[in-house]
């Protein structure tokens, strides 16, 4: 792909928009369609597009595999950790209402935001990890 100008320039134009859209889907999932899973997939797809056009080595430099491995487990840990805050603050596991003692609905909102963030981190890291594994195998 190194010699084709249009895909390279097109990718450069599209990539920020894709990542921005992923963030929008991530944090706007409470109000519109979307959420952590979809956002993670879109975010991962952005990096996959970069790897397809600019080559695996450049992509590995941009998003090193060790970062991905942290991300894969960090997302699950965030999710389970937010769940653990429930019992610590005197509620039940994965009950976010106790996160804000005065306004349970606000606590729920916070919990969902964090949990979705965890899902997004895990899913995007997993997508890119799997792509690296497939793409790195054929060489």
């Amino acid at each position: 792909m190194k010699r084709y100008t249009i895909p390279r320039v097109g990718t450069k134009l599209l990539l920020p928009l894709i990542l921005l859209f992923a963030l929008y889907v991530q944090f706007h999932g409470d109000y519109g369609p979307g959420g952590g899973f979809q956002a993670g997939v879109i975010f991962g797809a952005g990096f996959i597009l970069y790897a397809l056009i600019y080559g695996l080595d450049n992509a590995r430099r941009l998003m090193p595999p060790w970062v991905l491995r942290i991300g894969v487990s960090l997302g699950v840990l965030i999710y389970a950790g937010v769940g653990l805050l429930g019992p610590l603050l005197g509620g039940q596991y994965l009950d976010y209402a106790v996160l804000d003692a005065r306004d349970p609905a606000h606590g729920q909102h916070l919990g969902i935001l964090w949990v979705e963030l965890g899902v997004g981190i895990t899913v995007s890291s997993v997508m890119v990890t799997i792509f690296y594994a497939f793409a790195g195998r054929g060489r």
Binding site: G29, P33, Q38, V76, V119, A133
Partner: protein, 169 residues
């Protein structure tokens, strides 16, 4: 489209057909007002999994080996029986959009009525997924996590020494 996907020997075209099929089902979900599901189907089914299939295709041959007709008879029989059983199962499904359906009377009503006060976010799908059914989503995230570990264990191991901090973790 599915018939074409079965008949084609060129696996590249089959992967493309799968992608188109996913996208058509995503449009179908939009028609059914299930925007969240359509979103997932379009991004995962039509987007990322097509790329993964192509990646897998790059590791194998892109043509399917021709099989003898005798070997396909038993699978065809099994698929037909399963399909007939599924069609038989659909007879009991209530009519689409009927307000008297059981699904509209137990949990859904409670979610729609209480979710704005209990959770306070407009998208009920998100509140059901992340809060009411938080365990379920935690399990799904763990499944995705496990999938990555499985792929890494199966084909992720670098055979030559990696160029950099690949094994630092």
């Amino acid at each position: 489209m599915a018939v074409a996907a079965i008949r084609l020997r060129d696996l590249f075209a089959v992967v493309m057909l799968f992608g188109i099929y996913s996208f058509v089902s995503a449009s179908l979900f939009v028609v059914l007002d299930a925007v969240d599901v359509a979103f997932t189907e379009a991004s995962v089914g039509a987007g990322v999994s097509t790329v993964f299939m192509l990646g897998a295709l790059a590791l194998t041959a892109s043509k399917e080996k021709p099989k003898s007709a005798r070997k396909t008879l038993l699978p065809l029989l099994a698929v037909t029986v399963t399909g007939l059983a599924l069609v038989y199962g659909t007879w009991d499904i209530p009519a689409y959009g009927d307000p008297a359906n059981p699904i509209h009377h137990h949990l859904v009503q409670r979610f729609i009525e209480d979710s704005p006060e209990e959770i306070g976010i407009p998208n009920i799908v998100t509140s059901v997924l992340a809060s009411y059914r938080g365990y379920d989503t935690l399990g799904e995230t763990t499944v995705v996590f496990t999938a990555a570990i499985g792929v890494l264990l199966l084909i992720g191991g670098a055979r030559r020494p990696p160029s950099g901090q690949d094994d630092a973790r």
